[in-house]
């Protein structure tokens, strides 16, 4: 019985959100308000139990990880924002967070997204592997290699801000933006697929799981 009620509520909330496609209406507004309220509440509860209870309280008082107190103090300092006169103190924990995260990201992005990607673009254009004779790749592979190396280069030219896009440099930038736009097209196609999948999921829920009409 509980499951059936859940299905009915789920189905009517789904239809409420979909009704926005026709036009804004009270059913949609009600669903929207429920969604926003529940999600805000859910996040509050999830973060409270996971961070304050799960990490801090149990960590400090059950396991004796006293260094967690440093984090707790920084967290409390963050709340100083609520008192306008001493609000400036909240910048300290913020600077700690920004500093630590920047350091962490710098290395991650630099090695994974810059170094390794540049390294994988340094490749023989007309052969499949290093040491293979010239023109042993298939035509498809050669085109693909040229497109990757050329596309990466011209894409970088487009995002080079220290030089005006004029002459040959401007031409390369123009090719770069074309490559970027082609990539966007592929990406757009993927997203249409993704959005359709979500719709398919909801429709299957309504016609299959709720109404039981699908064999």
């Amino acid at each position: 019985m509980e499951q059936q009620i859940g299905l009915w509520v789920g189905a009517f909330l789904t239809m409420g959100i979909i009704s926005f496609l026709y036009k804004d209406n009270p059913w949609y507004k009600l669903t929207e308000a429920i969604f926003v309220g529940i999600s805000a509440g859910y996040w509050f509860v999830a973060l409270f139990w996971d961070n304050i209870v799960g990490k801090f309280w149990i960590g400090v008082f059950d396991r004796g990880d006293y260094y967690l107190l440093v984090g707790a103090v920084l967290g409390l300092l963050m709340l100083m924002r609520l008192a306008p006169k001493i609000g400036w103190i909240s910048r300290w924990p913020l600077s700690f967070v920004v500093g630590a995260i920047s350091g962490f990201y710098l290395l991650n992005y630099f090695s994974s997204n810059v170094m390794l990607q540049v390294q994988s673009t340094i490749m023989p254009l007309f052969s499949p592997q290093f040491n293979d004779p010239l023109f042993t790749s298939s035509a498809g592979n050669i085109i693909s290699n040229l497109f990757i190396a050329g596309g990466t280069f011209t894409g970088l030219v487009y995002f080079f801000f220290s030089k005006e896009h004029k002459g040959a440099f401007g031409g390369a930038a123009k090719i770069g933006i074309w490559v970027i736009m082609i990539t966007f097209g592929a990406s757009f196609g993927y997203t249409v697929m993704s959005r359709m999948s979500l719709l398919i999921g909801r429709m299957y829920f309504i016609f299959g799981e709720w109404l039981n009409l699908i064999g």
Partner: protein, 333 residues
């Protein structure tokens, strides 16, 4: 207002009829399915002709057609050929190369809104692991991820094919649950997994779980599979677990995110990739277990055809509109 109430009442009435009156599933035979497809194609052609003649359709017509394209295939008996792409084959080969008893870490970094795309992947992956006797360690960087994992595991264990397997929690698979902290969780796991997961999803201490108590960090994991719908997800796993700690990893991503992962695949940082529902269907094909991914693909393809048709119609409308604007005033019809 009255009109609105009447529409709501109509929807409620249709729902009640659908729920209480129609008790048998609706199945359209191959001929009926073909007739419907031809009818839809003809109507789309008619819309294109009307557009060329200067009468444009509204956005609601597009929504209606997409809805029809998504819903009708559920009732049709149409089979769609699926071709397995190299990145899906690569993931399959990597799993097949693992010896029975190998430990596989599966991170569920998504929540129910992305389940239509990722849940079929999760189920197929679990099915393959159980079939190959691989030990599964589940975790999540999104709060609802481990629940999705639980659902997927229950679905698989209920299937007839696995009825004979005595697949036990604690020794064959564990669910370590959610841990907040995004990529910092991955970083800490590189040093010691137990330091991030003191208890599992059900509150059992890490050290009392036979499967994981000897697992110190990623070097004790033979393969990893990440199901991701955004941040934190596959990108973070590649950057930290793969590039820093040398974990071997495959990924299943929502279609929105998949294009972002291809550079990592090409550079060898990823071992196989399933992109969106298409990836899920291909993985089902390669593993030989037809399920939701394959079933949903028919709706997916139908809706894509409708979208392509409306792209053509929309472009016809756009260019005709341009042409009319360019004509001197007074000449427009």
């Amino acid at each position: 207002m009255l009109k609105q109430i009447l529409v709501y009442a109509l929807i409620l009435a249709l729902s009640l009829i659908g729920y209480f009156v129609i008790t048998e599933p609706i199945i359209l035979g191959p001929t009926a399915s073909m007739v419907i497809i031809i009818l839809i194609a003809l109507v789309l052609l008619y819309i294109l002709v009307r557009t060329i003649m200067g009468s444009f359709v509204g956005r609601r017509t597009v929504f209606t057609f997409v809805a029809i394209a998504v819903i009708l295939p559920f009732f049709m008996t149409v089979d769609q050929p699926i071709k397995v792409s190299p990145e899906v084959q690569q993931l399959y080969d990597a799993v097949m190369a693992l010896r029975p008893g190998s430990k596989v870490l599966v991170s569920f970094d998504y929540d129910p809104p992305s389940a239509p795309e990722l849940q079929p992947m999760a189920e197929s992956f679990f099915a393959l692991c159980i079939e190959r006797d691989l030990k599964i360690i589940i975790m999540g960087l999104w709060p609802q991820g481990p629940q999705q994992a639980d659902l997927a595991m229950q679905t698989i264990l209920r299937e007839e094919a696995f009825a004979g397997k005595s697949w036990k929690y604690g020794t064959d698979y564990v669910n370590l649950g959610f841990q907040s902290g995004n990529e910092f969780v991955i970083q800490r796991m590189g040093g010691e997994i137990g330091s991030m997961f003191h208890n599992d999803f059900y509150g059992t201490p890490y050290d009392s779980l036979p499967l994981v108590r000897n697992i110190k960090n990623f070097s004790n994991i033979d393969f990893s599979f990440n199901l991701s719908a955004g941040y934190p997800g596959s990108v973070e796993w590649v950057q930290v677990a793969v590039d820093r700690y040398g974990l071997k990893m495959g990924a299943g991503n929502t279609a929105v995110q998949a294009p972002q992962m291809y550079p990592y695949l090409r550079a060898g940082q990823l071992t196989g990739l399933l992109g969106g529902l298409n990836g899920a269907a291909e993985f089902e094909k390669v593993t030989g277990r037809k399920a939701k991914g394959t079933r949903f693909m028919v709706s997916q393809s139908f809706s894509h055809v409708v979208v392509i048709a409306f792209i053509i119609i929309g472009n016809a409308a756009f260019f005709l509109g341009e042409k009319r604007r360019k004509k001197p005033e007074g000449e427009t019809s």
